[in-house]
């Protein structure tokens, strides 16, 4: 074994994805849930770039869509944090178990 194949990257992406899903389901802090979503997006990105490297038909597409995902993740984090801050201002908590309505 002199070079790393495609499968180790896919397995690492699967591991990151599983960690992200566990984080989203388990965390009670809304910001923690957001971090789980970031992990999931990164797992998808690892897969995209790995396929771009190992499949000659996707050499450009993989990188381009990885960059798109990075930008969309930034947008998603901005909106989610704005909602979390709004919720925190109205209810003085960030526990998603107690989140029933956004208004006071």
């Amino acid at each position: 074994m002199t070079e790393v194949g495609l499968t180790p990257f896919l397995i690492l992406g699967a591991f990151l994805f599983a960690c992200g899903v566990t984080c989203v389901t388990v965390k009670r802090n809304a910001v923690g849930v957001l971090m789980g979503v970031e992990l999931i997006l990164n797992a998808a990105n690892v897969n995209l770039v790995a396929f771009a490297r190992f499949n000659p038909a996707f050499r450009l597409d993989g990188q381009v869509f990885a960059l798109m995902v990075v930008v969309l993740a930034a947008a998603e984090a901005a909106v989610a944090l704005a909602i979390v801050l709004n919720f925190y201002n109205n209810h003085a908590t960030v526990d998603v178990d107690e989140a029933k309505q956004l208004k006071e």
Partner: protein, 193 residues
């Protein structure tokens, strides 16, 4: 054991351990720090794969932008008991089982995939210049080879295509989303006396 294998093992182990740290730590500030290490590890993976521009964008946009946003969110909301919310045992059980099942499914799929053991010889990933031209719609982005992994009768060569439209859509989307986020999070004037 060549150098690339050793590097991959080191970086992948660091990334995976940091991801576990994000899930396992209860303190939300520590979760943010573990997430920082995970994102840096993913950026190093991009560098190992030869995608320098994606790795640099990951470092600049993700680590420098998104993570700073998340840390601001942590600092604005984490005080007192909210910093460490405990999760019930049953929720850990359900979440862990869900994550483990998904991981097993994805690993089984990846092992079935019949991966190419080595990267195709002699062609590195396209660099920054080619990516920029593809985004601007100047260069032809149709792949060199036929698309593999699909039935033979569907593996047609694509005609001329560019990423100008997705690029514009994503730019306007980011602008609109940031304006909306600023509107949502604005400081409100108190009406009650």
């Amino acid at each position: 054991m060549s150098l690339s294998v050793i590097l991959f093992v080191v970086v992948a182990t660091a990334t995976a351990v940091s991801a576990v740290g994000v899930v396992a730590s209860r303190n939300v500030v520590r979760m943010a720090v573990w997430l920082l290490f995970t994102l840096i590890g993913v950026a190093l993976l991009y560098f190992l794969l030869g995608a320098e521009f994606a790795g640099a964008a990951q470092l600049i946009v993700y680590v420098g932008g998104t993570l700073v946003l998340v840390v601001f969110g942590v600092m604005l909301t984490a005080h007192g008991p909210l910093r460490e919310l405990r999760t019930k045992k049953g929720e850990w059980l359900v979440g862990g089982a869900l994550g483990g099942a998904l991981f097993a499914l994805l690993v089984a799929m990846s092992l079935q995939l019949g991966s190419p053991a080595t990267a195709p010889e002699g062609d590195a990933l396209p660099g920054t210049g080619q990516l920029g031209l593809a985004f601007l719609g100047v260069s032809d982005t149709a792949p060199d080879g036929p698309i593999t992994g699909v039935p033979a009768d569907k593996a047609t060569r694509r005609t001329r295509a560019s990423y100008l439209l997705p690029f514009e859509i994503v730019s306007v989307h980011l602008l609109v989303v940031l304006v909306g986020a600023a509107y949502l999070a604005r400081a409100k004037r108190r009406v009650n006396p």
